[in-house]
Amino acid sequence: MSDESANPADRTETATTVDTADAADTTETEADGGETLGGASSASTVASLQARWESARDRELTVIGLTIVGVSLFPYLFARAPVVSDLLQGYQELASLMLVWGIFAIGFDILLGRTGLLSFGHAALWGTGAYAAGWASANITTFPLLLVAIGVVTAVFLSVVLGWLSLRRGGIYFAILTLAFAQMIYYMASAPLAFITGGDNGLTGVEIGSLLGVFDLGTELPSVAGTLLGTWRYAFIGAFLVLSVTAIYRILNSPYGIVFQAIRENEQRAEFVGFNVWRYKLAAFVLSGTFAGLAGALFTIHGQYVPLSSLYWQTSGEVVIMTVLGGVGSLLGPLFGAGIYLWVEYIVSGGYPFDWIAPYWLLVLGLVFVTVVVLFPEGIWGLVGDLRDRVATRLEER
């Protein structure tokens, strides 16, 4: 028997659906015909624009293009634009810091959102990247690009070791193991290795040279770029953010990305299909560690100082909160999570016009977090998606 004729019930069902849809289409067309010519054409323009947007939305160039536009406009809007920047009380250096944490969070999401592994030890990777870059700047070279490379390579090595050890167990045990190893590294840095790390005082004496030996990171960019982006430092970090988004987009849309998602859904089934799940998990861990190291090195370049707290478990917790707040598994969502987290941490806690609430900034953060998690389980990114769909339906109804 051929499959063509195999499935009478389903066949009928499909046929019915198609019929209904056809009928609806016809009604709509008739209704449109009844309206004024202008109304009909504007409705169809909206619809066609929307269709075009939907087909372009998830394409690589769109994602990267939007990231570039966002990164370019953000410091201006946040720190210099009339009204908006007054409302937000933003400033240039905070904008740079948000991007640094944003890179950390979107890299972390490869592990949490795509592969379904909750690491509570990413402070170790971020902190090690930061210390490696800081130590190198005092002892080897002050070239920013080399410092970034040193931070990334060190973090990659450490993440292979940490991942190899921690991925022996799954679920909560994995989280605890990563936490335990990260805390071990924290204590190592605080006393036994204080001659390298500076112990409780953090790593001072960090010196950042000029980019390619020409551009001082602290100076303002020329003309319009200066108005929009501000400093060379921001441009430097922003370029790495765009690169990171591109790289992660590519990873998530490669065969690896699909396997990561399959593992998140059901490890055993992925094994049945023929994947060595453990190695893919290690790959995801190392990939996220790479971005943690990159962000850590940029953190050093940004602050020219490495605090011991960058290795502390609280840092691991912060990146989890940023990612969940922004929306797990959403590529760009964690950027917003990082931005909002830091905004509350630096602006709301900082006084005017928030003096009345400043001592309670952690409470504010907690409320924001709980509200988002309860009302929008898919985070801020999910909320944006909801609103977009709602607006789209509204437009269609017109």
């Binding site: 499959d3 699909i258 998602q261 859904e265 094994e271 299909v273 023929g274 060595n276």
Partner: protein, 247 residues
């Protein structure tokens, strides 16, 4: 020589002894059915074959195509040509239909695979061939697999298995929870898969349906094989059917 042989296999879940000296064989090219009540040890047998843990196989040997596979890792067993379509949710519901099928290619294509490479001699079906088998999957190409109906999900799971280098396709309760018309569709698919030269091991509680399609049957009860023979024999053996299968 049989394609798959289990010899005196003893499997345990923790300390409880589930399979007792279980021996069975699946011949190349046949449709073999393993029947039994709920909890008789059917799924444990399949899990032992593919090397899923639990259970632990403490004793006995499992041989596939002349090579011992006892205690091997699931991904190795899968790459050696055994595909298991587990019961209930068999697909990756967050992935689209196309991505679910694509996973099989990724697993087979060594350049895309991280880890030990296993030599894959026989290539599976192409996506087009799978769509030929199940035209409905092509219509639902870019849909999330979780939104498919139960029957479509079953087709997708079988389709993915066919895309692998499957020589032995094992289906765990393929009819469970499906409407009668869908069962017919799955049955006809199984027949066509068998005609194409793939060996099938069918695990079922639904004895009537399985006897109708199988060449040979095993009946398992409390971890032991209590009947072995042609499907025809089991159809006529009323006592065994009533005692162990309740039909």
């Amino acid at each position: 020589m049989s394609l798959l042989t289990l010899e005196d296999v003893d499997a345990y879940y923790g300390e409880s002894h589930i399979l007792r000296d279980l021996s069975m064989a699946v011949e190349d090219g046949e449709v073999c059915a393993l029947l039994g009540r709920n909890g008789a040890g059917k799924t444990t047998t399949l899990r032992s074959i593919v090397g899923a843990k639990p259970p632990t196989v403490r004793d006995g040997t499992i041989t596939f195509d002349g090579t011992g596979v006892t205690g091997r890792d699931s991904e190795d067993v899968s790459m050696s040509g055994i595909s298991l379509v587990p019961e209930e949710r068999r697909i990756f519901s967050d992935l689209t239909v196309a991505e679910n099928l694509h996973l099989a290619d990724v697993a087979r294509n060594r350049s895309n695979t991280i880890g030990r490479s296993v030599s894959v001699e026989r290539s599976g079906m192409s996506t087009e061939e799978v769509f030929d088998f199940f035209p409905r999957l092509e219509e639902r190409d870019s849909q999330k697999a979780g939104t498919l109906s139960g029957g479509e999900q079953q087709m997708l799971a079988i389709g993915r298995a066919l895309k692998q280098n499957t020589r032995l396709l094992m289906l765990d309760e393929p009819y469970e929870g499906l409407a009668p018309q869908i069962i017919e569709a799955v049955e006809s698919a199984i027949e066509r898969i068998s005609d194409s030269g793939t060996t099938l091991l069918l695990v079922e509680q639904n004895a009537v349906a399985a006897i109708g399609i199988a060449d040979r049957c095993y009946v398992i009860d409390q971890g032991e094989i209590v009947f072995e023979g042609e499907a025809e024999e089991l159809r006529e053996d009323e006592e065994t059917r009533e005692r162990y299968l309740g039909v």
